[in-house]
Symmetry: C2
Subunit: 200 residues, 2 copies
């Protein structure tokens, strides 16, 4: 049985629950508090020295962290990871875009606004984060105007990675009404077999 | 012939030059200015809609961006990409760590200090970026105390990804003298066949 160090409010953790649901792989979930220092305690640092969820313990006891690396691990050998080499590299291109340009802006703004509340530390950084989040959405919108999914015409882990925080971006105040191609893609993702909601 | 949209001061671009040197693949370099808006002009946005270097044009005319996705593309099928599935996922774990925790702190501080100079916008953000950079170095140091390379006992693209900005971290004021395991690893990386310097 796979163990997931999980967080109900984390889109990164949701990515792992979502791919395991698609693949019909059972999982034992351990809910972690991501705001009270639990992920920085010595027992958890043995699982992920970088102190973040999600992390998984595989059947053989091995630990693996970083949501998009976990997606890769489970996707390999399934239709969620392309058979073409350039398509595989493009899946990773979108996943690195997600972790560099999308998550630190869209997910962080959502966390500050929907979960932590604005603080004297976060408030000055908000306008730049919001602007950068919209720039990431602009890049996605332009691509999705010409493509049903991010890579190779079918649903892959690039879509899972980008869906996780895009579909809850409104919780951070982002207006997805400006983005018809993203909105249509969100609906396509939500109808994939085995889809679950972030609240499931 | 492969074309690289390059930048002499970018560690991300250096990763691509370094793997191509290891693999003996010739490349045509187009130097881009990363500070004057050149990467946001329409002609370059056709290459990488996300407006960043490095990006490559492959022999068939296809474009590929995101330094670590480019590393994957060239590494597949070589000793730089492991044969074991969990090792492959762990290479990606370290590469996502690099893009999320290491590059936005260590590379950004270096760029601000060594290239742009401190500005009224960057100066207030510096202490937090420097602290986060040291936390990333702490994670690397602890791992390298027990391992000669990041994954599987041999040199992979995880090492290339993390070497790029670690070996010039002192240009941003980071004191690598505190990190003997990182320092020994930097020397091991620099003796790999085909190694080139960032200034080559």
């Amino acid at each position: 049985m796979i163990t997931l160090y999980d967080s109900a409010i984390s889109g990164n953790a949701y990515k792992v629950r979502l791919i395991l649901s698609h693949l019909g792989i059972p999982v034992r979930r351990i809910e972690m508090n991501v705001d009270d220092g639990s992920t920085r305690r010595p027992d958890f640092l043995k699982v992920n020295r970088n102190g973040k969820v999600p992390a998984v313990i595989l059947a053989d006891g091995s630990a693996l962290a970083e949501s998009d690396a976990i997606l890769y691990y489970f996707a390999e050998g399934t239709p969620l990871w392309p058979t073409d080499r350039l398509d595989r590299a493009r899946v990773l291109q979108w996943m690195f875009f997600e972790q560099y340009n999308h998550e630190p802006t869209i997910a962080v703004v959502r966390h500050w606004i929907a979960h932590l509340g604005k603080t004297p530390e976060s408030e000055p950084a908000l306008p730049a984060k919001i602007a950068a989040g919209y720039r990431a959405l602009d890049v996605m919108e332009e691509h999705l105007q010409a493509h049903p999914f991010f890579v190779g015409g079918s649903y892959t882990i690039a879509d899972i990675a980008l869906y996780a925080y895009t579909h809850v971006a409104h919780e951070g105040g982002f207006d997805l009404g400006r983005y018809p191609a993203i909105s249509a893609w969100l609906k396509r993702v939500a109808t994939q077999p085995g889809h679950i909601r972030i609240t499931d």
